[in-house]
């Protein structure tokens, strides 16, 4: 499974205690970076593990997984002439940033299709399982699947985006023992075989969440995309303690009984987000190991970014394609496959951490799952910080109850009008009245979710569904309930206050403000993320 390309094995993650000799620490700051000195003697930094080696022969590993699946028959034996085959795949929210060609989905789907071709399967559809995300553009589909698959299936209408609001395209499969409705894309549900191709970037992805969420509609999603589920998930990155996953698994049981036969293919990639060499290589190194070249690159990059207009900066960052390498691929029965996938994800991300902290700091990067080729609006800033980064723990949160999170991000009052139309109204109207997730859910969700205009834009344009900003807000509900205060460094004050957070100009200011909540000389922990790190807190 391992490659022999690297001269030394990758080092695991690290918890560094900050002292006076510790150099300034890198904070991502949207489409830019900042270096901050953390208070010595009471601070620590959690560094991610170095990238695990990629598979030496990724295509060979995929073939092996398809021919020797876990808890399933070999894929070729499931294929026959005259059958109805549907291949569903993760949408553009994975991986982040988008990866260099060939994308993992392309590698896997080409092999699945090659086996289907050998078996003489004519009726093949490919569906982007995007649930209530925005539709992928042709270029995005082409990037994910490659030219060959796109050119073979898109012109004949056999490659398309899932449409959760097409009443003719959705079917009800049944209800769980807790009365949760299960719906699925009709084509997938009525197929003789549904092959799902996944990329597991973080431990939350995959399993029954792929089909039960990715191919479902609002009526099914509302059973787990809600405040109660999020607050009771500790965390949603830990499948066994995640109410979100428990609900998805219950829905998966219904799919198993009443839905199509599912052949799940899950893949993991390593932490090689910025490259081992190249202009961004320093971003995945520890600061004291930056070479003269790294420092020169960083200084030049900072100067260049400062001179660039915001749109050019966004384009520059948006054009970065991560050189991720495939670290594992497993196929077969959904739950058995996912157990092994999760182990492989955690092998890359998990770092043992002792004890909680008073103040958790994090530098938020330019990208999250919902602004690929788009704008990181303030709601997504909240979701990335309090939803994703805060929940990157196993055991208990990194920050103690009543503690403070300090996020570094420009948090501009800016939205992509095509991709995020309902976000604008959510920010302008809903957050202007309340930031309480439960109140928001009770008063506004239904109205946004059933708004005809938002539905029209979701189906015909490239807009996220009307209810999507609510889900982003719910994603941070656990953190909002847990924390005493949230401070944003370098954010646009007006936007930060609308989120219900406090703006600060510098990290020192923010730490002083935090002391008002957690007391003087608080302990500080910095999550050095990305590349992705997940804390195993004891």
């Amino acid at each position: 499974m391992a490659s022999d390309r690297r001269p030394r094995p990758p080092r695991p993650g690290l918890v560094l205690d900050v002292d006076r000799s510790t150099p300034p620490v890198l904070f991502h700051h949207g489409e830019g970076f900042r270096l901050h000195r953390l208070p010595p003697g009471r601070s620590r930094v959690i560094y991610p593990a170095e990238p695990l080696p990629g598979l030496a022969d990724p295509d060979g590993a995929i073939t092996e997984a398809l021919l020797n699946p876990i808890g399933e028959d070999p894929l070729p034996s499931l294929l026959r002439p005259g059958m109805k085959l549907t291949i569903a795949f993760d949408d553009l929210s994975l991986p982040l940033p988008p990866m260099r060609r060939p994308d993992v989905r392309q590698r896997v789907i080409e092999q699945v299709l090659d086996m289907a071709a050998a078996a003489g399967v004519d009726d093949v559809h490919l569906i982007a399982a995007l649930a209530l995300h925005r539709r992928m553009t042709d270029d995005e589909l082409r990037h994910a699947l490659g030219d060959r698959v796109f050119d073979a299936f898109s012109p004949i209408g056999a490659l398309y985006n899932h449409d959760a609001e097409d009443p003719d395209q959705m079917v009800e499969l049944g209800r769980t023992d807790q009365d949760e409705l299960v719906t699925m894309n009709r084509r997938a549900a009525e197929s003789d075989l549904l092959v799902y191709v996944n990329i597991n970037l973080v431990a939350m992805d995959g399993g029954w969440k792929s089909t039960a969420t990715g191919l479902a509609d609002y009526r099914a999603l509302r059973h787990h995309h809600n405040v109660a589920t999020m607050v009771n998930s500790r965390s949603f990155m830990d499948r066994h303690r995640s109410e979100l996953h428990h609900s998805n698994w219950r829905q998966g049981a219904v799919i198993r009984r009443h839905g199509p036969r599912v052949f799940q293919i899950e893949t993991t990639v390593n932490n090689n987000t910025f490259g081992r060499t190249g202009p961004l290589a320093a971003l995945q190194k520890r600061e004291w190991e930056w070479s003269a070249r790294d420092r020169a690159s960083f200084v030049a990059m900072q100067a260049g970014l400062k001179a660039m207009p915001a749109a050019a900066r966004r384009r520059a960052f948006g054009s970065w394609l991560a050189p991720y390498e495939l670290t594992s691929v497993q196929a077969g029965e959904v739950e058995a496959v996912h157990e092994r996938t999760t182990d492989n994800v955690l092998a890359q991300h998990l770092v043992p951490v002792e004890g909680q902290t008073d103040v958790l700091t994090m530098g938020l990067p330019y990208i999250c799952p919902y602004n690929v080729n788009s704008v990181m609006n303030p709601i997504l800033v909240m979701c990335l910080g309090l939803g994703y980064f805060f929940n990157l723990y196993r055991g208990r949160p990194l920050v103690r109850e009543g503690g403070v999170v300090i996020m570094s991000h420009p948090t501009a009052w800016e939205f992509h009008p095509v991709h995020h139309p309902s976000y604008i109204d959510f920010f302008e109207q809903v957050l202007a009245s309340t930031t309480d997730p439960a109140e928001i859910e009770a008063k506004y969700e239904e109205q946004f979710a059933t708004d005809e205009w938002y539905i029209h834009l979701y189906r015909t344009s490239h807009a996220y569904h009307g209810v999507h900003p609510f889900y982003m807000w719910y994603w941070g509900a656990h953190a909002l309930q847990w924390l005493g205060r949230v401070i944003v460094v370098g954010g646009e004050p007006r936007a930060v206050r609308r989120l219900g957070f406090q703006p600060a100009s510098t990290l020192d200011d923010a730490l002083e403000m935090a002391a008002d909540v957690v007391g003087p000389s608080p302990t500080v922990t910095h999550l050095h993320n990305p590349p992705i790190v997940m804390a195993d807190v004891t």
Partner: protein, 317 residues
Amino acid sequence: MSLVRDLGLDRWRKLPSPARRLRALSFPLRAPTVPAGVAPGPDRRRTGADYDTAWARRWPARMARAALVEGPMRLGVEALASPRRQGLDRLSDLDGPAIFAANHHSHIDTPLLLTSIPDPWRHKMAVGAAADYFFGTHLTAAVSALVIGAFPIERTRVGRRSADLAAGLIEDGWSLLIYPEGGRSPDGWGHQFRGGAAYLARRCGVPVAPVHIEGTGRILRKGRNLPQPSVASITFGRPISPGDGESAARFAARIEAVVASLADETRTDWYSARRRAHASATPALTGPRTGAWRRTWALGDRSRRPASRRQGWPPGF
């Protein structure tokens, strides 16, 4: 075209090429031939398969060639061929030297490939070229060696020299570009692949990257002197290696089958091509075994399909 004909310029197309005119010169305007049975003098300049191309692989020549490839050659190829490059992702796992084996329609194939094959192979590439054609005179040999990094391959007689030279190049880390058909297509259809590339892959333990070229026959087909701008596509296949015990002949046939499948993929779509490949129904590169006009007829319309790429919408902020 009609304007060209009206002005009487089309007769220039019928003139022999400068190279042919040069070759047509006789002594004393060109070097004397050596009578059979007479040992050449020690200072005789060696041409053909004996031409020594080592100088063209030293750094000064490599730098000059890189400048030519990335400058005028690339500009010329873009202007003449508007190439559509596909399948480059299939090379992503290729590591170390390789043999690129392509079908061959035109003299523009080599510039097209040299500007399409990605780094790190592009600038450490030696091109197998017919010793009797490209290395016939010292001038053409020097130009070929310098501009395209050519090395001589005997195609009119059996000899070890070409094979030993090619194997030595691979051992030195050079990749090779070889046209296994042995020459350009005379009528738009291909020839059966010879075993040279397969033999070298077996001997040196390197993979073969099959390549299919489409459309260059319309730009500068065999027998024409002036190029006609058109569009060409180039499709890279996944590198393949000879199996255990697989003979060079069988491996050559497999390379040809992959190139034929790539041709099918270019003309139809990937999934249909894979279906036919699995059913052993891929159209052969060599075309139907019929009379000349029916072979030409069977070529049909090989014009390039309209590009399906378009810019993403919305363009983003």
